[in-house]
């Protein structure tokens, strides 16, 4: 059987499982729809959180990014795991004790203000929408390459599946399908990594294999450093660019992770405060399995790639090369007409004059999209067809699980925070549940539409979602828990400052014609959320000190969320 048949079989089986689970876990009340009834065990919630969190970007793009960035790619590894420490220590237990359905709920109650609730709901909507569009695109890429259907058809299939279990089951259905999706995606990630690790360094554990030796006795990473510098690139394992920006980007990703509403809301689904703490720990363990494997895949793939393509005749390329060329994600242009592929750093002037020009090379001839490294890796390493099919199923699981979590946040922001708490407080539970189902359905369709016709801004999903989450939610929640005196005026002023500053900075440098020379302290738009977070905090504290303290009952709420005893199930009232 070929790759295509295997893909149909494995993807078909996994989809059947998701649908089966969804039918089994239907939601009957708003509590089940928003927070799965609040009775999810810590380990199950940890698995669901991990699947929710690990998106198409983690599964498909991250290892590829690290492959090309080397040490600098550590920002993703540190940033997307370190945030869980903040979540476990500073947010999850207190928000669980607070016991409401959504993040805007917390902001609205803690800052006794409908304006604050509305600002938070709009932030949550914007963050989740930019993020979900990226997932839809991931679904489209995986389908179009391996099932040989159109990109559009691929997205349509994705929409139908997500719609089915999200509309039917709400958080309850999503939680249990995410558990299944976690299992699929982690197996799909580990199997090829283990295979390749055995092939390259003879060690079945990729985390150890990355530090292992190749058959010629040299360390893999040393060999990779050498291969890289031989082609005019920087050493793989060391940093040559600014540490300040690395610091800021890492921090923005960490703070953003801890502030993302679809991650926070997962901790409302467990029974107790102690469970919320433990659950964050389980989530990080399950996430770390993928995140510590990723750098190994990056290094293996990069070494394999450099060995396979460099200075080899185009005609001798294996069949995967041509297939990826068809998708446009791999591009070869024979600039000097010698029929061979020259892949090197043509932006390194000393290398160009010393090596490239004397050899008659006329520029780098190979363009490789980050996104294909994980999908192409098993083919490059010549693994069996079923492994390749498994990776496709894993990529789809990661995209679908994250999309579902985000869609739920979108739906709850509209049906709960805006409709129930603001526009129509007398709506019945049945009416709210119906509204939630309708909004989630509409949101899937809109997300799918934007996945097919991506607006310019989604290309920078990461910068937007994380920057805004870090600059708006993170400080407002932290101050709300740890600073009893923080009041409505301070929190709103802080959130608006953080949002406007971060939003304007990203906008200016991505679309407004800003040049890298104009970066403040050399910080790229990906890292600016950290500065936005600091500004938010300073403004909030200053405004707070000049305005009256919050009412006594709000201060009592803060006292109350600081102790675990007496946490009931999450409610909407």
């Amino acid at each position: 059987m070929g790759v295509r048949e295997w893909t149909y079989i494995i993807v078909g089986i996994t989809f059947a499982i998701y649908v089966g689970v969804a039918i089994w876990a239907r939601a009957g009340s708003t509590s089940e729809f928003y927070v799965a009834g609040g009775g999810v065990s810590p380990f199950v919630n940890g698995m669901a959180t991990a699947a929710d969190w690990m998106s198409a970007a983690s599964f498909l793009s991250m290892a590829g990014l690290i492959s090309f960035m080397g040490y600098q790619g550590s920002q993703y590894l540190l940033g997307w795991t370190g945030g869980y420490v903040l979540l476990a220590l500073l947010l999850a237990p207190y928000l669980r004790k607070f016991g409401k359905f959504t993040v805007p709920d917390f902001i609205g109650e803690r800052y006794y203000s409908q304006t604050a609730r509305l600002v938070a709901a709009i932030c949550a909507l914007f963050i989740s929408f930019t993020y979900v569009v990226g997932q839809m695109k991931g679904v489209g890429v995986a389908f179009s390459r391996f099932l040989e259907v159109d990109f559009e058809t691929g997205i349509l299939i994705g929409i139908v599946i997500v719609m089915f279990y999200a509309v039917l089951g709400g958080m309850k259905g999503i939680t249990y399908t995410q558990v299944a999706q976690y299992c699929v995606l982690i197996v799909a990630y580990l199997v090829p990594a283990i295979f390749i690790s055995i092939l390259m360094v003879g060690n079945p554990i990729p985390q150890l294999g990355l530090g292992g030796t190749l058959s010629d006795g040299t360390y893999l990473l040393d060999k990779l450093d050498m291969l890289s510098t031989d082609l005019g690139f920087d050493e793989y394992t060391t940093s040559n660019t600014g540490k300040v920006n690395l610091f800021f980007v890492t921090a923005a990703l960490m703070l953003g992770t801890a502030g993302l509403p679809h991650v926070i809301v997962r901790f409302f689904t467990v029974k107790k405060v102690a469970d919320a703490r433990k659950s964050a720990g389980y989530a990080l363990v399950l996430i770390a399995i993928l995140y510590t494997t990723a750098p190994a895949i990056s290094a293996f793939a990069k070494t394999n790639l450099l060995n396979t393509v460099n200075n080899q005749p185009y005609s001798s390329m294996p069949s995967w090369f041509g297939k990826w060329e068809e998708t446009g994600l791999l591009k070869f242009e024979d600039k000097n007409g010698d029929g061979k592929i020259q892949y090197y750093n043509d932006k390194n002037p000393s290398y160009v004059s010393a090596t490239a020009t004397p050899n008659g090379w006329k520029g780098n001839e190979l363009k490789i999209d980050n996104d294909i490294m994980v999908l192409a890796n098993p083919e490059i390493a010549k693994l069996p067809a079923w492994v390749i099919a498994l990776v496709v199923a894993g990529g789809l699981a990661s995209a679908l699980s994250t999309a579902a979590g985000l869609l739920l946040v979108i739906s709850s922001s509209i049906s709960h925070d805006i409709l129930k708490k603001w526009l129509k407080p007398d709506i019945t539970e049945k009416g709210e549940l119906r509204a939630a189902r309708i909004t989630i359905g509409v949101a899937v369709v809109i997300a799918g539409y934007f996945g097919i016709n991506p607006p310019g801004f989604v290309a920078q999903v990461v910068a937007w979602a994380f920057g805004l989450a870090a600059a708006s939610f993170f400080p407002a929640i932290i101050l709300g828990i740890f600073y009893k005196r923080m009041n409505m005026e301070g929190a709103i002023a802080g959130m608006v400052t953080g949002l406007v500053f971060t939003g304007a900075y990203i906008w200016f440098f991505k679309y407004g014609g800003g040049l890298p020379e104009q970066y403040i302290f050399g910080i790229t738009p990906e890292g600016i959320g950290t500065l936005g977070m600091m500004l938010n905090t300073v403004v909030a504290l200053v405004v707070c000190s000049m305005t009256p303290p919050p009412p006594a009952e709000v201060q009592a709420i803060v006292e109350n969320i600081r102790v675990p005893r007496g946490s009931g199930a999450a409610t909407g009232h």
Binding site: I66, Y71, L78, L89, T238, T250
Partner: protein, 85 residues
């Protein structure tokens, strides 16, 4: 629970947080970024040490931090009688 007890509980909680967050900062931003170049002079098998912290080690320490926190807080909750049934 009395106010005084509550304050004592909260103070102990904050002290634990400060220690754990200091470790969190040290392994990620310290060993993984700020001192990475220096640590790269040392090796851990095939890894340069700074690189290992940035792409492996810090993540393992993060996990340990969370479980230490869970453990300590559960004890603290019991000690002050604020744990859940």
């Amino acid at each position: 629970m009395s106010d005084k007890n509550l304050q004592e509980y909260w103070k102990k909680n904050l002290r634990l947080l400060a220690v754990l967050l200091a470790v969190w900062f040290f392994v990620s931003y310290g060993c993984g970024i700020i001192f990475a170049d220096y640590l790269n002079n040392f090796r851990l098998g095939g890894y340069k040490l700074g690189f290992w912290f940035a792409q492996q080690g810090a993540i393992y320490v993060f996990i340990i931090i969370i479980f230490v926190y869970v453990n300590r807080m559960n004890k603290l909750d019991k000690e002050f009688g604020v744990d859940e049934e």
